[in-house]
Amino acid sequence: MSQDIYVLIEHLRGQVAELSYTMLAAGRELAQGAGGNVVAVLLGHNAKELGKDFAADKVLYLDHALLADFTSDAYQKALADLIGKDQPRAVLFGNSSIGADVASVLSMRLDLPLVSSCRSFTQDGKFVSQICGGKIMAEGELPGPTALVTMVPGGYQPDQGRSAAAPSITEAPVPALEALRVALSKYIEPETGDVDISKEPLLIAVGRGIQNKDNIELAENLAQAIGGVVCGSRPVIDQGWLATSRLVGKSGKHVKPKIYFAMGISGAPEHAEAIMQSDTIIAINTDPKAPIFDVAKYGVEGDIFDLVEVLTEKVQQAK
């Protein structure tokens, strides 16, 4: 039993996730209150050097050929062993494709409490979670003895999780990884598509509010008039109205255009996070309380369909 805060580092093909640095920064805040150390937990194979810029007091490195790539089963086994033995005060996971596959299973396996979607911790160590598409925050005492926590981005700066001074890296034992039920076959590269939206300076983005596939044309027309490119949020891509290469968000691209013009996008946290680096966000939404207006610089409360054609016309005239 210790007051240490463990942070599970997420990495894919040699690249550490930004979210892991955010979690190291969160871990620091929590460790200061608890009086423990920040311990980065790195699982991999020949991947020790990934730990060199972690803002952590210590890196625990678990090396095994079967940990070279993430699979839920192997990670669960290795972490169950480590957490069971060390009993830290908390373990932070990403609320992500890696962390979320692991944290819930460990909660049941080790009979440890789990808090999900945590965005930040208060100074006295309470968790603050973001739920209901960012519309509600839930705060509470961090449960004990060891709290498992999945974290969403937004509460801390990833740069605060980086350090120029390399932390000490200690190898930790890996339990027998036998009878694994999940195996990686291969990676499938992202669809490249015709454009790379992460490099486009002017994005016309559509969300659920665009209502149907035919209406995409309205966005295309505006994009053409102004010299931009159309992209969309998850519901639009899932419906097959736009190609996957145009997806902005958690599983898609993070973008940083000069102008991000969001039409009918509510601005759920996963989407908001992916557009934060834009210079200017302009949003149109019928719901005045849509979270997109909290990240947008300019907003229009109204119906896209009343506005977009007349806007396209006026843009054409103004050229």
Binding site: M108, R109, Y187, S251, L307
Partner: protein, 253 residues
């Protein structure tokens, strides 16, 4: 092949959310319950698997307002068996839900269990992986494509940036569905009505609802944004003029 789909009902975010007088929970008195959208994708994926490889699809939901609608809609899409789990599920966390589901699912001899990868009201992890561990089955989440072959499931898992991983999982397994291979199909109201006549809902009581493992919320609140957009008001014509001026100011026109 025996495919089980677990669906959760969640408050519709289109409606105004309010905090109850105790200040630590949502006031669900007037909540409109809808299917968790990822669970809708899980149902679609289940039906697609059945269409491709045969078998049956059983859909399970907790008994909340709207549960019958969800089940009959699933039946209209092609689900074979509908089970409603009885109990007081208002405000019940995922640990309790997973344990209650597990008790029922154990008896169903599932080859594959599909459920949405997450729900917007999750505060103690998500139902899928919690259930998987209760049943000692493997779990993979963020799945957007599934096939089954020879006691194994081949699936596509999503990572950030559009990267996918193809993974092989031994069955039975629990998969957290991010998106079905095609958008959830639309069914006409008339077909749902027909399903109400031709299919029946089995009711089973949850043995107990044990929330152990979830956190206790001390306070719930609506976030105050650090900043808010400068709103541009007026008729569509006026708004369009102002936006054109803004585009000029920003140097793109």
């Amino acid at each position: 092949m025996n495919i089980i789909v677990l669906a959760k009902l969640v408050p519709d975010l289109v409606e105004e959310l309010t905090i109850d007088p105790g200040g630590a929970a949502l006031d669900l008195t007037f909540a409109r319950w809808i299917i968790n959208e990822f669970d809708d994708h899980a149902i679609e994926q289940g039906i697609l698997l059945k269409e491709r490889g045969g078998g049956t699809v059983t859909v399970l939901v907790p008994d909340l307002d709207g549960a019958d609608d969800v089940l009959f809609t699933a039946a209209a899409k092609g689900a074979d068996r509908l089970i409603k789990l009885g109990g007081d599920f208002n405000g019940v966390n995922n640990h309790a839900l997973a344990r209650a589901f597990a008790a029922v699912v154990k008896e169903l001899q599932a080859d594959l269990i599909l459920t949405g990868v997450q729900a917007h009201d999750d505060l103690d992890g998500s139902a899928g992986p919690l259930l998987a561990e209760c049943l000692q089955m493997p779990y993979v989440g963020y799945v957007s494509g599934v096939s089954i072959n020879d006691g194994k499931s081949l699936l596509r898992k999503e990572y950030p940036g559009g990267l996918l991983a193809e993974m092989e999982v031994t069955t039975p397994a629990v998969l957290g569905i991010q998106a079905a291979e095609q958008p959830p199909r639309y069914v006409a109201v008339s077909k749902v009505r027909q399903a109400m006549k031709t299919s029946s809902i089995e009711e089973q009581d949850a043995s107990s609802l044990d929330p152990c493992g979830g956190p206790t919320v001390g306070r719930m609140f609506q976030p105050e944004a650090a900043a808010h957009a400068t709103m541009i008001a007026g008729s569509p014509d006026e708004v369009a003029d102002k936006l054109v001026d803004l585009f000029k100011e920003l140097g793109v026109l």
